[in-house]
Point group: C2
């Protein structure tokens, strides 16, 4: 069987599983998730052993230590993954929620009900825990899932999926609701991108390169996630102590994530007072500042920024910086260079906060708060499948309801249209 | 200037207009819509004259009379278009609606607010009234719109857009919020399909060919609309008088629309009683029935149905028909051949209704009612931009809220993440 045929077989099996899974109520789905959690703990040794192979191959390939640490699973991490599965089981089921409803003037009873999307494809890089997280969020929301992880985690992902499927086999949730996309080369991704009609949505999770290539090539609807070039704008009316605290939190509390700050914009009216303190604090935390000419005037440590510095997501201890002459100039900068993820203003001015929140066109806008709060867990969603930076379907952190569609149901007693 | 450059100029102007339009509250938007309505009435002669050219060219090209009638504008039709604009002005503004909100345990105030999508591209065939309908729905929801109508209506659309833009010039809504895509050949559509980053969503309105080609080629997110292969399933427990009334309404009340029935499925238990009556009534209404072998046993007038008959949207006085042995077989048929638009069951059985609505995976499912009710106007939306048959973002009739996205806004007093 060719890889393409093998893919079609897997995708059709997932589609049939989705059909069987969609009408299942909450109880059997939660039961299946708890069975998955138990099975992961029970199979921890086997999973860790498969993972050790991936880690060994990554080390031989000269993968940096930080990435190897992200790849590595031990018993404790497997147990943590299992706990996360139990937390998802405890979340409310979005399926069946009546979103809107009314009785029409002619007596027709109309309601709009949440239903699963169907088959969700997840294309992701890096950590193998995503394999389980993504699968159980899809199952909980009544969807089948096709997983396409990083080839560097192939053995780990294969083991995790095998354990999950074995656990499902004893439940009402069909095992085929969780499938790994066959193959590990680039072509195997392509099958997924062209599976319109079999796959209802693709969610790429990873860097800008991955996401752009998926958007370019896919005929399946895509939800873009995760690229975050987040800004902190320090307004003329900012409380500068607060601005410094927020800036340092947004940049340094966890620089590798998408809601970390990547650009600092400072109003010229407070640049003299704020920038020397901010640049010293950033330098003290090991952050390299890439600044425009006006920023560089405050410190010889600031390296010159090019256009690229304002566009990119560093995901590292680097930050771009610029001085602006007005709030509108800050907003224009954010619109031009940002990724519409999360942008923050620090200000005591109510009109400034109102104008900033009204004119910054991003998934999240923060006022006097760190950009780091844009997160499904922080928002109280319980779990998230990713952070959408597109405008269609879902924007910002995506929880379980964002993994659903809706269906209109109307009931009459022989109603016809006049 | 090349057509590609001209397109980029138009799209950038629309993008800037969208930025200016997004924060506008309801009053100036409604004022602008009423100015558009007045201007259309005032310019009716000019519009009708431009349209006469399109009609003349269509006639010379041998276009069928029905299509020419759809293309034709007279003063009365222009006045009707203007009234529809005033009705949209009277609808509530979806922008600014707080969809969800809470105060997080740390005191952060969180709210999710409806915002415009940005720039909406509409690709449509046929009637020039869509030019105005689509434009004003986009404006009302705070979006700029790029219109790409049928080349057969190019002169009409050009006149309508000119009149709308002139009317907007005297209002707070920028005239560039309404633009016609330059050019009338196929390449001019391509620019729109590749305008990712400048255009936020594309809504193709037309036949399956148009919609498929847009989905295949677009890097801009697409909302699929309008293809409807709707089924009427007559259950073993159906009230057969009701079934006949619903069938005839769904098929013949307006056969050219997407929510008209295209396939009849009859449970074998009632086929003997129902099909002779139904086939006679359909024949009496001039409907050609394309049936399976079991259906053909009831009338010599039934022509043999192939796979294509079950798949296609006739949009004419034709209907496919088949006898099924169970409700589940009916559902399987609908899943296999349907377009997931609207499917109806006629039954007195509550369990049958429950199973049908739970397992048919379509935008709308009707119980004891005609498929013809799947319509933004009937649902009480006031107006619709189309009927989505996809699962992402919007499903079923799309009103003004479906032309929006959301933005998360969170406000703290120096909140940082621990």
């Amino acid at each position: 069987m060719s890889e393409a045929e093998e893919f079609m077989q897997v995708a059709r099996a997932a589609r049939d599983a989705a059909t069987a899974l969609a009408p299942l109520p909450r109880a059997p789905k939660d039961h299946a998730l708890r069975a998955v959690a138990d099975a992961l703990v029970a199979a921890a040794d086997e999973i860790v052993e498969a993972n050790a192979g991936d880690v060994e191959r990554a080390r031989e390939a000269g993968t940096p230590a930080g990435m190897i640490d992200r790849l590595r699973l031990d018993r404790e991490r497997v147990e943590k993954i299992a706990s996360a599965v139990r937390e998802v089981a405890d979340l409310p089921d979005p399926v069946g929620e009546v979103v809107r409803g009314s009785t029409l003037p002619n007596g027709l009873e109309l309601r709009q009900v949440r239903v699963p999307l169907g088959v969700v494809g997840i294309i992701y890089e890096g950590r193998p825990n995503v394999t389980v997280d993504a699968a159980v969020l899809c199952l909980k929301s009544g969807n089948a899932v096709l997983l396409r992880g990083s080839s560097s985690a192939y053995a780990s992902n294969t083991a995790l999926v095998r354990v999950m499927r074995e656990a499902l086999a004893g439940t009402e949730v069909p095992a085929d609701a969780v499938r790994l996309v066959p193959g590990r080369d680039r072509d195997s991704v392509k099958h997924l991108l062209r599976a319109r009609g079999l796959v209802d949505v693709l969610i790429p999770r990873g860097g800008a390169g991955l996401i752009n290539s998926v958007v370019e090539e896919s005929t399946v609807p895509v939800i873009e996630t995760g690229v975050g070039n987040c800004h902190v704008y320090v307004d003329a009316d900012a409380d500068l102590d607060m601005a410094l605290t927020i800036l340092m939190n947004a940049k340094t509390q966890r620089p590798s994530v998408c809601n970390a700050a990547e650009t600092l914009l400072v109003h010229a009216a407070v640049a003299d007072e704020f920038l020397p303190r901010a640049l010293a604090a950033l330098a003290g935390a090991g952050v390299t500042v890439h600044g425009d000419e006006r920023t560089r005037a405050y410190s010889a440590d600031v390296v010159p920024a090019g256009e690229d510095d304002y566009t990119q997501e560093y995901v590292s201890l680097d930050i771009a910086a610029a001085v602006v002459d007005s709030l509108d100039e800050a907003v224009a900068h954010i619109r031009k260079y940002g990724s519409a993820h999360t942008d923050a203003i620090v200000t005591r001015s109510q009109p400034a906060a109102r104008r900033f929140t009204a004119t910054v066109d991003s998934a999240a806008v923060a006022v006097n708060a760190s950009t780091r709060f844009t997160d499904g867990g922080e928002f109280g969603f319980g779990a998230e499948i990713g952070i959408s930076t597109q405008k269609l379907h879902a924007r910002g952190p995506m929880g379980l309801p964002e993994l659903t569609s809706t269906k209109w149901i109307y009931t009459g007693d022989g109603h016809i249209r006049q």
